[in-house]
């Protein structure tokens, strides 16, 4: 499909968001992934979420590592700067970019190989530092670009397309993110756009480290019987705790639901999330509770999806470092350089 140039014309009646942008303004180049890839659905959800949020497209920095998932930033937000960096190192590049300019929105896109295998350390440390970002893992349990090797999120006992059984234990990135202090933790499924779009929107509105694990079946190498990351398997084992109705910067649309099942979460930036709870007892403000809930359901073979934890009052790395409000990349010699008088004094102290 890649030889086809993406047409630029669009329907004149295309809906516009608050800033006057259409959907098309949030799109990128045409995808080079396999037709039907779960990752393309996530791309569509990111586009939808950014459109809904009326984000200025160029105010987003898209950063990724290496792999199928890491190619996707080329396929959305074409007017944003993107950085397809080094395998497993998206988190450090994103951290540095965020330190340089705190005013942009940082979207980190990674895969299970990129974040749970080669980049497990960087994933962990960016989360524990509380970098203000939306970290999305497009999780298919397999190395797609190198043709189907297991990744570290592949479940023990699951079968590869070639019939090999995985004997290693799986890493659950959601459980780890909770343990490391992520202040927004969610899981979703690429095939469930109605759940995923509001989750991405809410994560972008969250100030702090937001992590979303999106199960995204690899139709080429991990969509067969015996896989625990196939469309059929995930649909059968998906257990949603809640569904979001976002809506950042607007009043939550809570009228459709019966009282008692809707919980409104107001985030630090003033945005509101309406949580339509499916499991009435589930409390998304209880980190420990979320960890136990997750473990209990994992033991039953259930894949829990939804917003699992949020700390609406979280802060971020800039708050920890007490950095100035002005982006560091815009400071010049007049504010950064102490000058010759200070240097003379410094010299005098060294004699």
């Amino acid at each position: 499909m890649t030889y086809i140039a993406k047409p630029k014309f669009h329907h004149p009646g295309l809906k516009k968001n608050e800033l006057g942008y259409t959907h098309r303004d949030y799109e990128g180049k045409i995808s080079t992934l396999c037709a039907g890839c779960g990752h393309d659905s996530i791309t569509a959800s990111i586009i939808e979420a950014c459109y809904e949020l009326s984000i200025e497209p160029h105010r987003v920095a898209k950063i990724s590592g290496i792999g199928c998932s890491s190619k996707t930033p080329d396929y959305f937000l074409g007017n944003s700067h993107g950085f397809n960096s080094v395998h497993g190192r998206m988190p450090s590049v994103l951290t540095g970019a965020n330190l340089a300019n705190r005013d942009l929105i940082y979207l980190g896109v990674s895969g299970d190989g990129d974040s749970a295998s080669i980049g497990f350390g960087q994933f962990a440390h960016s989360i524990r530092r509380g970098v203000n970002m939306t970290y999305i893992v497009e999780n298919n349990g397999v190395y797609g670009l190198t043709k189907g090797q297991f990744s570290a999120t592949a479940d023990r006992g699951s079968k590869s397309k070639k019939g090999v059984t995985n004997t290693d234990n799986a890493i659950d990135l959601v459980a780890i993110a909770l343990q490391l202090g992520a202040t927004f933790v969610a899981r979703s499924f690429s095939g469930d756009k109605s759940q995923l779009v509001p989750l991405i929107a809410a994560a972008i509105g969250h100030k702090g480290a937001s992590f979303i694990d999106v199960i995204s079946p690899c139709i080429a190498f991990n969509n067969h019987a015996g896989s625990t990351k196939s469309f059929d398997y995930v649909r059968e084992h998906n257990d949603a705790v809640n569904r979001l109705d976002v809506l950042v910067g607007r009043d939550p649309i809570a009228v459709d639901y019966a009282p008692g099942t809707v919980q409104v979460v107001e985030q630090h930036d003033g945005s509101k999330i309406a949580l339509r709870k499916i499991d009435a007892d589930y409390d998304p403000h209880d980190r420990l509770g979320a960890q136990t809930f997750l473990a209990r359901h994992a033991a039953k073979g259930q894949i829990v999806t939804g917003l699992l934890y949020v700390d609406p009052d979280a802060d971020d790395l800039h708050a920890h470092l007490n950095t100035v409000e002005t982006p560091l990349n815009s400071l010049e010699a007049d504010t950064l350089c102490p000058g010759s008088a200070a240097l003379d004094k410094f010299n005098a102290s060294l004699r």
Partner: protein, 615 residues
């Protein structure tokens, strides 16, 4: 008592302190060095320390040098032997006619001494224990007591030491007076019980001038502050950790908003060197000036990212405080051993800019300049220090800054330029210097965005695996590296008095030893022109220098003569004409070593006429 006349020397000798790591001797020893400076006499101190926190032997060597030779000299004229573990070796290392200063509280068998040295015993432990009861005080003041005794033996002015103590403990009266008291305990004991002064003496002079006394790492860190670095990411590794620590201290002093107290910088201790360089690259990509400081093993880990910086053209500054490799090597010993590793770091065809400061003053200047170079050239700039410069106090000219200087932010296309309709191709060589324009993320709603990647792409940053497109880009990178030649600090040449066909090339911390060696060689009748290389890529004057001389010695502190390899490789010259002079045992190179190696080679080269030889 001795069958060798005691060494007699004013303002020109080496004192070495042998201590146990963690015994608090470092500050007393440093005070000894500083107090000699206050006499107007230059000193060059060196820490010789183990990779250990407490218990292993450590030495502090002070070369007193009125002539201003700041390289290591070799040999010890006076040993202050405070460590029983290393006693035998320490005593053996004293020059014939030298002096041994030791704690005589416990009697030592005569076999533990030598006949050809002067032995000076001071009952340090006895004096200390009779004055102090607290064990920690006993340990710390013992150091000050020996400092006091030395001041009497070497004829130093105690007022100058008191002044230093006063500055160090300003506002802490109790500590101040107790230190001065301890100083005089030692001094008085020596004056009353020993023949003072000995043959080694400090005499007031005026050879220090306005020079400052600073460690290279601190100076480099200050250079980063002056050069506008706002992001520092690092991972602890000796001997580079003190760069980040000094940067933190300097920023606390100079970089907080006076009204809000907020920081105009961000420092992150990464989880490893991969994260550190990743943070630097992310920050630089986003338009901030960023750097990391590391050493050999860190460089090895960073190489994948360094290749990305080269190929995707993202500025980065890496300060490499070199130590002896390979692998963990000798982590607390000095070498210049990462020249090749840095010049060609990463897989594929890569070349990187290296800067070679000779001392803290240049470390400051080059560190600040590195940020301009990184943004101008959009690539990694290595500041190549080593442990000898980085972790030792060195006397150097005062640091200078021109207040009219603006940062060179390089070719950055702004929203206005894009709005004017300027053609933006991220990898388009519009000026013929190989350097394209870049945009910062978030610049313009519809223009100037691009996708940064380590994969091959065309001039407009569009993914491409076309061979011609790839080669076009690789050729442009060569052009850019040629441009760098004229931007980096040029080599400095100093010619011999008489025309000569012999030359010597050196760089970095070898500088003071080389300058001193020239004098020694001249005394042996050898004339050599000198070229101090200060950066890679090599300026055309390096090739000229090679062409003008039949033989050129390349003096460096590594086994494989790495700079020589680089010169041969980059200039395509006959390797036979470049004679390697290498020193790589982890100690700093000395003038004596260089003069002997070059002198012997010169003697060997010179065919002495038969008639002259027999006459």
């Amino acid at each position: 008592m001795s069958d060798k006349k005691p060494i007699s020397s004013v303002n020109d000798f080496v004192v070495r302190f042998a201590n146990v790591n963690g015994s608090g001797s470092a500050s007393a020893n440093e005070m000894f060095a500083r107090s000699i400076l206050r006499h107007g006499v230059p000193v060059s101190p060196r820490n010789i320390f183990p990779s250990n926190i407490q218990g292993l032997p450590t030495w502090y060597e002070v070369r007193v040098t009125e002539a201003g030779h700041l390289g290591a000299r070799g040999g010890v004229d006076m040993m202050v032997a405070m460590n029983p573990q290393t006693w035998d070796k320490d005593v053996a290392g004293i020059e014939p006619g030298g002096y041994l200063f030791y704690d005589s509280t416990k009697p030592m068998p005569s076999t533990k001494f030598r006949d050809d040295i002067t032995v000076i015993g001071v009952p340090l432990t006895a004096i200390t224990n009779s004055t102090y009861t607290d064990p920690r005080q006993r340990q710390l003041f013992k150091n000050i007591i020996y400092l006091g005794a030395l001041s009497a033996l070497l004829d130093m002015d105690p007022k100058l030491i008191e002044q230093l103590i006063g500055e160090q403990y300003k506002g802490k009266e109790k500590l101040l007076s107790s230190n001065v008291h301890a100083l005089h305990l030692g001094r008085d004991w020596a004056l009353q019980n020993l023949k003072c002064p000995i043959g080694l003496r400090i005499k007031k002079s005026d050879k220090v001038g306005d020079r400052i006394f600073i460690e290279g790492n601190s100076a480099a860190a200050l250079g980063a502050v002056y050069g506008g670095a706002t992001v520092c990411a690092w991972y602890p590794i000796t001997p580079s950790s003190s760069v980040a620590e000094a940067f933190t201290a300097h920023c606390k002093k100079y970089r907080h908003d006076p009204e809000t107290g907020k920081a105009k910088y961000a420092i992150v201790q990464g989880e490893d060197e991969l994260a550190s360089i990743g943070i630097v690259i992310g920050a630089s990509w986003n338009g901030a000036r960023a750097f990391t400081a590391t050493s050999g093993p860190g460089i090895s880990l960073m190489t994948e990212f360094i290749g990305l910086s080269y190929f995707a053209e993202i500025p980065a500054v890496i300060m490499n405080i070199q130590r002896a490799g390979p692998s963990t090597g000798m982590p607390t010993r000095t070498q210049q051993c990462d020249i090749i590793a840095c010049a060609y770091a990463s897989h594929g065809d890569t070349k990187h800019v290296l800067l070679f400061p000779e001392d803290p003053a240049e470390a400051f200047e080059f560190a600040a300049a590195a940020f301009d170079l990184a943004e101008r050239l959009q690539t990694t700039i290595f500041l190549m220090l080593d442990l000898d410069i980085g972790m030792n106090h060195r006397l150097c000219r005062p640091l200078k800054w021109d207040d009219s200087k603006q940062y060179d932010r390089g070719k950055v296309m702004t929203a206005e330029m894009l709005e004017e309709g300027r053609d933006f191709g991220r990898y388009l060589d519009v000026d013929g210097d190989g350097i394209p324009y870049r945009t910062y993320p978030g610049t313009h709603p519809t223009k100037g965005s691009y996708f940064t990647r380590g994969t091959s792409r065309d001039r407009y940053a569009r993914y491409s695996e076309e061979g011609s497109v790839y080669a076009d880009n690789m050729q442009r990178l060569v052009r850019k590296f040629e441009t760098a030649q004229d931007l980096v600090p040029r080599p400095l040449q100093a010619n011999a008095e008489r025309p000569t066909k012999y030359g010597v090339i050196y760089f970095g911390s070898t500088s003071p030893a080389m300058d001193e060696a020239i004098g020694l060689l001249e005394a042996r009748g050898h004339q050599l022109d000198r070229l101090r290389i200060r950066a890679f890529p090599f300026h055309s004057s390096v090739a000229s220098f090679l062409a003008e001389h039949d033989f050129v010695y390349v003096v460096e502190q590594n086994r494989d003569s790495q700079l020589r390899q680089l010169i041969v490789n980059e200039n395509g010259i006959d390797p036979v004409r470049l004679v390697p002079i290498v020193h790589y045992d982890g100690t700093p190179i000395t003038a004596r070593y260089i003069a002997k190696a070059i002198g012997d080679h010169q003697d060997h080269l010179k065919v002495t006429p038969l008639r002259k030889a027999v006459s």
